[in-house]
Amino acid sequence: MSRRSERWSPLLAARRAAVDALIALKERLPEDAYRNPPTAVGYLLLVPALVLVGFLFVGMLLLAWYSVLTFDPIEILVYELTLENWRRLFATTGYHVIFLRTIVLTTVVTVLAVALALPYAYLTVRVRSAPLRKLLLVSLFVPFFTGVIVRAYGWLIVLGREGVVNAVLGVFGIGPVRFLASEGAVVLALLQIMLPFAIVMIAPAIQNVDRELELAASNLGADRLATFRRVVIPLAAPGIAGATIVVFTITAATFAIPDLIGGGRVDFVANLVYRTLFDSGNYPLAAATSVALVAVTSAVVVGIFRTIGSGTLGIRRGGGGG
């Protein structure tokens, strides 16, 4: 009946508003700014972004430089080159455990977030009833209005020893159960934070899947699950890859949730860096740990690109198949 473009959709409306704003901005720019191929003015507009990324890059180089300097308990940093920090990082089992936990739990959070985001995003895009779609969208954006710390404290209230869940369990004579300071609690809290990100990344990708392709699949004998698996997911792959990368990188570097909910028992690498820096004041070791985390995360991102293909992010659209 009504085509995708004709149907009212807040996602689409938001996207249109954003594109309109961009076009309005573009119209005000001197014409040289958006020539294809770009001219000098066009490249000039890259400068603010380059400066920002440049600071980050310089920071990374500084960290890498610190990581090979010598630690001294009194002077803190001695400008003598050494591989001692890296050796310690690689040799200490305690650190291995924290790195491994970070990667495993981050992977679990990522997989769950993407898996739960897919049906949510699909429903939000395709549902016929306007009130239901509004409800889904509001539930999606409300969590963004509260910060991570607020939500962490929320979980403390829900899962704590005197918390809501234990109060309910107490009625049935169970407990109190220790939920907090467990890997499950950390994963749950992280999942709640990451899920909206995943949905926001995946929904536009699903919106771009032509509805008629789904009808065709159904006509050709694919039930809903098969249609989702064979048609919707492959065609939404760019959004799924994007969501995977965003969720993985943010989660891998997370600090507050393991700190507040994990209670020191479920430390992530960021918590390790914090302790090394503020408890022992070991700048070089903290720097080495940070660089190692960035390296591991980057390796995973590269891995995702390799598996799904960087073309799927839509950057190389129209650059030929294969």
């Binding site: 009946m1 008629e212 065709a216 699949a217 050709l220 492959p234």
Partner: protein, 369 residues
């Protein structure tokens, strides 16, 4: 096939099918039977409810009322993926992330054919559409005509009981359209599959269909063979929609039980020979439909009805010439003449004689409004 195949059970039967979207009735009480191996065209202007009807047959939407039978079995509760109906979408709806071969294999994989059977069947289907070497191509690399054929191959791969074609030729250019029309008919005959074809293009309908169901405002206006539809349209709407027809209002002056005389709005008396005797009573307001090509124009004409007229507009179409003429009484007519050797093309402003024989007209009681 089953023994039922030899009886007179239609392949598809629609029984009082109605579809309402809120206050809008898209399809209104449609009953229709489609015989085995028939090529039925559903023809109607845009917004007539054609697509809704097709979507109900395919199972994408449920009828608000009525029942659809496939091989005699009601299917309203059967989901689309269990209906064994192949459909070619207007947009073709080929899966862009799959090759041609994977597209054609898709319905077979869904039915868990074994891999060898799938390969074999894909090869057969690509041969049927006469594109045997394109299995490994990306669908995005295909031309419009090739995409069309692949969509047909995919829809027929699993030997459906019914093939649905939704405006299959509308996205092709004119030349390709003629070629694909023949191709569709060839495939239809080779595969022997019952086909329901939806279009708004009357020429496409006339040249392709065994039978045509004209749909208007959600209702079937006439369901007949192409010749019957053209030669005996049952309403002014059909006469106007199929072929080129001038509709004139008038009033019956007198009749002798067989032939009658109609007085047109301009006062001209016209002799009519209605197919259905007896003619309407004197005084009845009527509409007279005249096919452009049934009227002759010349220096003089020797027909039952003959009038003097002035050429107002000339459209030279190569094989034919169409004149718009004004009768002296003020009535406007259009006349199409074949452009054969010796035909004179009259220029604008010229006095000509136009006429037609009694019985060449369509006569309808005037409808209100």
């Amino acid at each position: 096939m089953s023994r039922r195949g030899s009886t007179r059970t239609p392949a598809i039967r629609l029984d009082g099918v109605t579809k309402r979207f809120g206050d809008v009735t898209a399809v209104d009480d449609v009953s229709l039977g489609i015989d085995r191996e028939e090529f039925l065209t559903i023809l109607g202007p845009s917004g007539a409810g054609k697509t809704s009807l097709l979507h109900m047959i395919a199972g994408f939407t449920e009828p608000t009322d009525g029942e659809i039978y496939i091989d005699g079995d009601p299917v309203t509760d059967v989901p689309p993926y269990e209906r064994e109906i192949g459909m070619v979408f207007q947009s073709m709806a080929l899966f862009p992330h799959m090759t041609v071969g994977e597209n054609v294999a898709f319905p077979l994989e869904m039915r868990r054919y074994d891999p060898d059977r799938i390969d074999e069947r894909v090869r057969e289907m690509l041969e049927l559409i006469q594109l045997p070497d394109i299995a490994d191509r990306d669908v995005t690399e295909l031309s419009g005509g090739q995409r069309q054929r692949v969509a047909i191959a995919r829809a027929l791969a699993f030997e459906p009981t019914l093939l649905l074609l939704d405006e299959p030729l509308s996205s092709l250019d004119k030349k390709l359209r003629g070629e694909m029309r023949r191709e569709l008919l060839r495939i239809h005959r080779t595969a022997g599959v019952t086909t329901v074809h939806v279009t708004h293009n009357q020429e496409e309908a006339l040249t392709m269909a065994d039978r045509i169901a004209v749909i208007d405002g959600g209702e079937i206006a006439q369901h007949a063979s192409a010749e019957e539809l053209y030669d005996r349209p049952n309403s002014p709407f059909i006469a106007d929609f199929i072929g080129d027809t001038t509709l004139l209002s008038g009033r019956v002056r007198e009749h002798d039980g067989r032939e009658c005389t109609v007085e047109l709005a301009g006062g001209e008396p016209v002799r009519c020979l209605p197919a259905e005797a007896p003619p309407p009573d004197p005084g009845t307001p009527v509409q007279v439909g005249l096919r452009y090509e049934r009227i002759v124009a010349g220096e003089t004409v020797a027909t039952d009805n003959a009038f003097d007229a002035t050429v107002r507009e000339v459209a030279f179409e190569g094989d034919t010439v169409t004149y718009e003429v004004d009768l002296d009484g003020g009535v406007e007519l259009s006349v199409t003449e074949l452009n054969t050797t010796g035909t004179r093309v009259f220029e604008r402003g010229r006095e000509v004689a136009v006429g037609w024989n009694a019985g060449d007209e369509f006569l309808y009681p005037a409808t209100e409004g």
